[in-house]
Point group: C2
Chain length 450, copies 2
């Protein structure tokens, strides 16, 4: 069975030449909200400078609200409708941009990250004749590249759009296990581009090999200096500010029903870098990590090509945790790479740039919003939620908390095996429907708090 | 001005799914030879096993000849009509598959490597009413991937096609400087695929980063173990068999009018890995080199993607010189990579495969064919040719010499700045026309030898 819901078309924000698609999905979302009786503003968030130096206009951000009752609490829901790139050649079993149901799962890019949850919020709003809380919505189209412009918008609208907001909720992550969860922390992230620029043209490796210091071998040496085989980040000083583990925090990990063997099976790995459930969870949630994503400019197609690429750009990111500071991390990474590069005595040119720089986030679990969240989970699922963190980055959680001073909670509905950013991303019918119920119950529980 | 000569269509042999294009250019070549009065055989050269394990049929090899006179010497000319990949996005100024003349240069993929010289041979044959030597032709379409099947064909036809051949000539390289040259040596080459296979799907670096040993970081460590920043190959034992430099050989480098500053400017590099003209030439011609070409399976597009690729394949090649033996090099590389991989204690799977394994070649400069070649160069250009080697690989030079026992010479007509395998590959009108004259003069000088 295939769906053709308009909220599930392609809208990859990683490539700025495709931002027209992002605008299209934002327009579709706005139409839907207006049809439900909401009012929509397309907030201009200015321009963005690409690594190339070019400046491009940003897609707008949707600020929406439903009719306001001053006696009710006001909940601001955040979601995003852009997605990671996806194509059949990456190994998808179904067309990533044509939502396909197989055995109770809904497969498609964005099914769980984050188009599915955005739709579930709208359905939860629609399920009430009279919504028990005032609803505001912030829907953006650049989350996957770092929410350009959203921080500035939050600052600008702090005294207007955000003034009467009591709670901010985000459902842009997944459960850690088979059990429903509330999320109280996320990792930050900085994305680095390491460009090594050499000869003025690609060279024949037969003609020039052995006489030219190749940008690719410089880059391999630079990337190889970043981490060791245990996953330890080798950039000096980068992990100095990681918050020490307290006894209270340590205890939280005991209650997570994380099954190490099942997670190995889901990922398809023989073993993780850590041996125990608690160590693996801490590695994902409360410790930093560095991943090398790829190289642009080198030969990447099937077959053989005996080329010396003239310019190559390595791409990696560092997930960051409290109390790491992204600008400080960026400075240390750049210093480290320049230092390693100087040892290569290369005639090539090195340029390191970074984007995103999202801060990590940790919430106060004693906040009333978390009480309402826990009650809603018990109501719909009959169990207490697991209190978890999220290894991935939702930059606006920390930004909202810091800029508005409001309570921020993350209320995931996606399953732990949904495969966000991966091939065959999905959300199950069960999670999608029960998640919609959870959102509706959560509105109600919030209304009882006040 | 644009040409549409049928010998200059696209025919990239690196991708086996495009071998239909290779067959098309072989057919065009055959038609041309037949129109000139030659006879053509399409020799079947069997099948080839891809790295994936799949077996595919190989394009045939053209064996052609022009009417035979037993009183004349017989020259066998080798050429290839396949090319390296090329596309505008790589930085070409003109359409690589539409030959374009700008200021006396003919730009197009294959212009100098090797479609241009193949056409020049045919024009040289056409220029005679009665050709002074018997002409045989071997034209193949898989040179850029290693001439699959040609070695076996040479063995099979040693007592038939090759029986009456006196000389074998190859024009598949370029001059070293602005001066015409005869080439007496080429480097061999082996192409390696280093595949690291990890999780069963691409993973989100936020969710899994820090807990998974990533195939990409394993691969970076493996590739980083291959050479140091001076270009020295670090694989143990690989350079042990490099022939020592004799005084006679050393003297040959003094006479090459190689201009270090000009070559820096052509390549667009601040400095080479070596300081003197002689050292740079030796690095290119008589010493081995290792180039890392790229990585397949990782993120290689513009923009950002926060993925942990599940499987990545690094690609590199080693140019080899006498007395290195490609199977021995392959064994040492595989052992080295397995040894480095074992230190990574990785749960991932490593598979190293190699293709080509072409041997290096050195000819005897005292052979009569070189005398004829030197006379032909003097006749057309008024100068003595430089006696050079070629850093790139023409695997069949050594194969022909070893299997047939015949004299093999390389007689280049391409300019030193033609940019074979690079963006904006070209041949100049001057080299193309004077080269055609050189081939005609060479036929004549050969006929005087006997």
């Amino acid at each position: 069975m295939q769906y053709s819901d308009p909220l599930l078309v392609g809208s990859n924000s990683g490539d700025h030449t495709k931002w027209g698609e992002v605008e299209r999905i934002l327009n579709m979302t706005a139409v839907r909200i207006q049809e439900m009786g909401g009012t929509v503003e397309f907030a201009d968030v200015g321009t963005h400078q690409l690594p190339s130096g070019e400046t491009v206009p940003l897609p707008p951000v949707i600020l929406a609200e439903f009719e306001r009752d001053p006696k009710k609490a006001t909940l601001c829901i955040y979601g995003h409708v852009d997605v990671q790139p996806a194509k059949m050649a990456d190994g998808w079993t179904t067309d990533p941009f044509n939502l396909t149901e197989i055995k109770g799962n809904l497969y498609g890019r964005g099914a769980t990250d984050n188009k599915g949850p955005v739709l579930a919020w709208l359905h939860a709003v629609e399920s009430y004749q009279e919504i028990p809380v005032n609803i505001k919505l912030i829907i953006e189209g650049l989350e996957e590249v770092g929410s350009y412009g959203l921080l500035e918008l939050t600052r600008k609208r702090n005294d207007s759009f955000f003034a009467d907001v009591d709670f901010i909720v985000i459902s842009d992550n997944v459960w850690a296990t088979r059990s429903p969860a509330l999320t109280y922390g996320t990792r930050g992230s900085s994305y680095f581009f390491v460009e090594v620029d050499g000869p003025k043209l690609d060279c024949h490796s037969g003609v020039y090999g052995g006489s030219i210091q190749e940008p690719m071998s410089d880059l391999i040496a630079l990337l190889g200096s970043l981490l060791d085989h245990t996953g330890k980040i080798l950039v000096p000083g980068v992990t100095d500010d990681v918050a020490p583990l307290t006894e209270d925090e340590r205890k939280l990990y005991d209650n997570i029903s994380f099954d190490l063997e099942e997670m190995k099976s889901v990922a398809g790995v023989k073993h993780f870098l850590q041996d125990t459930k608690e160590e693996v969870l801490m590695a994902r949630w409360r410790n930093p990590s560095l991943s090398i994503h790829g190289i642009q400019g080198a030969f990447s197609e099937p077959g053989t090509k005996t080329v010396i690429p003239k310019q190559v750009t390595g791409k990696f990111s560092i997930r960051q945790v409290p109390n790491m500071d992204p600008p400080d991390v960026e400075r240390k990474v750049k210093e480290h790479l320049q230092q390693v590069f100087s040892t290569l005595k290369s005639p090539n040119r090195l340029r390191v740039t970074a984007t995103v720089g999202a801060k990590p986030w940790v919430a106060n679990l004693k906040d009333p919003q978390y009480v309402a969240g826990q009650r809603a989970v018990r109501e719909v699922f009959g169990v207490d939620p697991e209190l978890i963190r999220e290894g991935s980055t939702i930059p606006i959680a920390q930004n909202f908390q810091e800029e508005t001073g409001k309570s921020v909670m993350m209320l995931p509905i996606g399953g732990h095996d949904d495969g966000e950013h991966s091939q065959n991303e999905k959300i199950s019918r069960y999670n999608y429907i029960e998640g919609t119920k959870l959102f509706a119950a959560y509105f109600y529980e919030l209304s009882l708090l006040k």
